[in-house]
């Protein structure tokens, strides 16, 4: 929790663009540098900045621990689920070519989906790590 007005105003201005940049890195990863992992970290960094300045309680109002856990789990399930779709259509696990009528297009959709899964998991884990470390009171009991 920080009461410095400069920090508070700057944080309010900058958190949105950070998350937007994270989304850009996420969905532009096939054309430029980046991808799910980096995007997840950037989005998590936006939320962490918010929690650093406005306090953990405000941060948890934004993303509650339950939603955070669900995001983490959804990412892995999305990744694994895309693999299961390939199995259902009688190809190898994680072969995306059957996701569309054309193999190339299918690959593209598959990459977008699994990168999104990676992004969700990474963002969720990084955010929960930060909250756990900051709210831990030590084992002095």
């Amino acid at each position: 929790m920080n009461d410095d007005p400069i920090l508070r105003v700057c944080t309010k201005i900058i958190v949105g663009p950070i998350i937007l940049f994270g989304l850009y890195v996420q969905f532009h990863g096939d054309y430029g540098p980046g991808g799910g992992f980096q995007a997840g970290v950037i989005v998590a960094a936006g939320f962490i900045l918010h929690s650093l300045i406005f306090g953990l309680k405000e941060g948890r109002k934004l993303v509650s621990e339950k939603i955070n856990l669900i995001i983490m789990i959804l990412g892995v399930l999305l990744y694994g689920g895309v693999g299961l779709i390939s199995l259902y259509f009688d190809t190898e696990y994680l072969n995306y070519s059957i996701l569309a009528h054309e193999a190339k297009h299918g690959q593209h959709i598959g990459i977008l989906l699994i990168e999104f899964g990676v992004g969700l998991t990474v963002a969720g884990v990084m955010l929960i790590l930060f909250h756990l470390f900051s709210s831990w009171k030590g084992d002095s009991k």
Binding site: I111, G117, L129, F130, S134, G138
Partner: protein, 181 residues
Amino acid sequence: MAEFFINGFLVFLLAVIAIVAIQSIKVFSTVMLAGAYSLISAIIFVSLDAVDVAFTEAAVGAGLSTVLYIAAMKHLPKREKVVNDNTFFALVVCLVVGCLLVWASFDLPQIGDPMAPIHQHVGPYYITNTKTDMGIPNLVTGVLASYRGYDTLGETVVIFTAGLGVLLLLGDGRNNRDENE
């Protein structure tokens, strides 16, 4: 030649930051210097044309780890305890291993050498086929997400497991959590 000087300068900066970080006894400045170290490494990766690695290093090494260290710092004393143990043996081990590594590096192929063994294995296949298989220009994403999809799945599960592990270690007993902060 310019490249040589830029790389030399960056490596020199890395060495200076590392020495200052070891010498400093304030935990906060050590954490900040570790972040600066990561940022300089990211610049070196950019100069090696490994933008994806540089991106990750800048986001994770310089950004998030620094924040996590700061969050963990709350549970540490402000200053390191100064220990005056005999560090002569450690110095000798470091010097010997360092010299061995430098000696071994003379056998490495030149950076960017197309005949290097690592570029003779599956690399050429990825370079020729990514465009036709997936139609995306970023080879790194193509390899990570499609050709090596299993590895990335494993990586994601590892991160997930790490998060779960920390959750179980630090988050189980509701009584030692600070709910009012």
